[in-house]
């Protein structure tokens, strides 16, 4: 990779880095190289400030109030919903449900769509690279309802084959639930093709967007998916907030999930009427500050632009991949053709935990473990990997520092 390529990325990384206060932290007296963005992203100052301002100037409960602060808070909250709607290009605010994150989003679908539409003998199709949050809710449902979880296998490069999807879908399949970008392998799945196949059989598709949203523009109408999930904390937003997008018709026909305030039209002991979308699925006081912070994060991402982010990340991916391969006995797990800037690797004779602790003391933050994808570990016959995941504020220098630290690990362990 020549410097030429590097220079053509339109990102002003220094300016971006200065937007993220935490990057000034000095773990063990060293510069922080935060390469754990797949676990959670850091927050730009504008997001932190939006949360701060909310509590200092707008805080109130929403929807039912007629006073000054309540009107401010409601406007900010519903304004955030509009921002999310535009960000994902949903048709309407009715399709945007605020949840805690991807895990809650998938469980909501399992409890509502799942329990009303999927029964004995039915099948749900996932892939072998799913995060636990896209496995366990279906296992619980299957145990309760006598349905079956079918699994699209992955190849040695960490890819699914469209032929397998085609073969595994049948008249018993009631839902396809698949990750767009794998958090442990980096694989970008051909999700549009999967959706098209499923839809040709009238099967709805849930897309786990926890890892795709941080890396690429997602247009839910273009994708055509029935459900899409976002984890705010992975998208430079606050913790405890996320989005479930659902097509209006499909949400409309689902029973509610949580019962409580705001999701009802009227309550009496003789019978209760549910509210309209999206409120039907938002019982109780929501994470108001979280939604406002998330909307701010989306605006921030838009201000940088996905094209620039993507170019920058792909540069880092190519650069780091090349450099990592120079290390003795290092093997990259996940070598799909279409990858996001996530690199999992193992090193001969050195356990990922030792790698993690070691590079941490050099100021380099990576994640080690099974990344909540144990079936992937099983498939590759390893207990864990080390994972570096890059985002817009990362640099080639940080990749170099990782590589250096790994060389030291190699030396130490012989």
């Amino acid at each position: 990779m020549s410097d030429q390529t590097h220079l053509t990325t339109a990102l002003d990384v220094d300016a971006i880095r200065s937007d993220f206060p935490i990057l000034q932290q000095k773990p063990y007296g060293r510069e922080l190289a935060y390469l754990d963005n797949g676990a959670t992203a850091q927050k730009p100052q504008c997001v932190i400030a939006a949360v701060n301002t909310y509590y200092r100037e707008q805080n109130s409960n929403i929807h039912r109030g007629v006073h000054f602060l309540s009107e401010k808070a409601t406007k900010a909250y519903e304004g955030a919903r509009t921002t999310v709607k535009n960000f994902l290009n949903a048709r309407s605010e009715k399709e945007i449900v605020f949840v805690r994150g991807t895990t809650e989003a998938i469980n909501l679908i399992a409890y509502t769509f799942g329990r009303s539409q999927i029964g004995e003998g039915d099948e749900i199709l996932v892939s072998e690279m799913e995060h636990h949050s896209n496995i366990v809710p279906w296992q619980i449902l299957c145990e309760e309802r006598g349905c079956t979880l079918k699994v699209v296998p992955i190849s040695d490069s960490g890819e699914i084959s469209i032929e397998d999807v085609q073969q595994l879908i049948n008249e018993r399949t009631k839902l396809v639930s698949m990750v767009y970008v794998s958090n442990s392998l980096g694989t970008v799945n051909p999700i549009k093709k999967v959706i098209d196949i499923a839809h040709s059989h009238d099967i709805p598709v849930l897309v786990d967007g926890a890892q795709s949203t941080p890396h690429m523009r997602v247009d839910v109408q273009e994708l055509g998916c029935d459900f899409y999930t976002v984890s705010g904390h992975k998208l430079f937003g606050p913790t405890g907030i996320g989005v479930l997008y659902g097509r209006e018709e499909i949400l409309e026909n689902m029973p509610p999930f949580h019962g409580g305030g705001d999701m009802i039209r009227s309550v009496s002991f003789s019978g209760t009427e549910y509210n309209s979308l999206p409120f039907k699925f938002e019982a109780g006081t929501p994470n108001i500050a979280g939604t406002i912070g998330l909307a701010e994060a989306m605006k921030y991402v838009d201000s940088i632009g996905y094209d620039a982010i993507h170019a920058h990340e792909q540069d880092l991916l190519a650069y780091a991949t090349e450099k990592l391969q120079t290390i003795d006995g290092l093997r990259i797990i996940g070598t799909a053709e279409n990858k996001a800037s996530v690199i999992s690797f193992v090193m001969d004779g050195i356990h990922p935990h030792d790698i993690g602790s070691f590079v941490d003391r050099q100021g380099v933050a990576i994640r080690v473990g099974h990344h909540c994808t144990q079936p992937v570990m099983e498939k590759f016959g390893i207990p864990a990997t080390s994972r570096a995941s890059f985002t817009m504020y990362n640099t080639r220098e940080e990749a170099d520092r990782l590589v250096e630290a790994l060389q030291m690990v190699r030396e130490m362990f012989g």
Binding site: H351, D354, G369, G414
Partner: protein, 149 residues
Amino acid sequence: MNDEIKELYQQVILDHNKNPRNFGTPDSCSHDANGHNPLCGDTVHVYLTVNNGVIEDAHFKGAGCAISKASASIMTDIVRGKSVEEAKKLFEAFHKLIVDDSIEPDVDVYGKLAVFAGVREFPSRVKCASLAWHTMQAAIDNTNEVTTE
């Protein structure tokens, strides 16, 4: 290189990691248990031959990080010939050593275990160091399965 890292990965530990002692399944044993650290995937199986309250033999098998392997290796070395009571006391002492900043890692007191004092600077690794010990305890107590979290 960071000093605390050097403290953690002392030569003794790297050596036991590379060439673990008492590694493998013995032909026979009186007590055994399986230990598992679900967060990092470390597993260790400890086999003991206890006679008249004395640990006559100790082995282990498993996969894990350097700290957990070295810990199992050194532990099985050290408890051999000790009474069950002594082994339990050693575990207590060991546990204090790896969590308590104020304890001097005196080689006269702790013997080979002293090399694990560096773990105290790595809170997320305490469980790696103590897994083998928890598992030995489980073997003695006839609890067949133990997990740390």
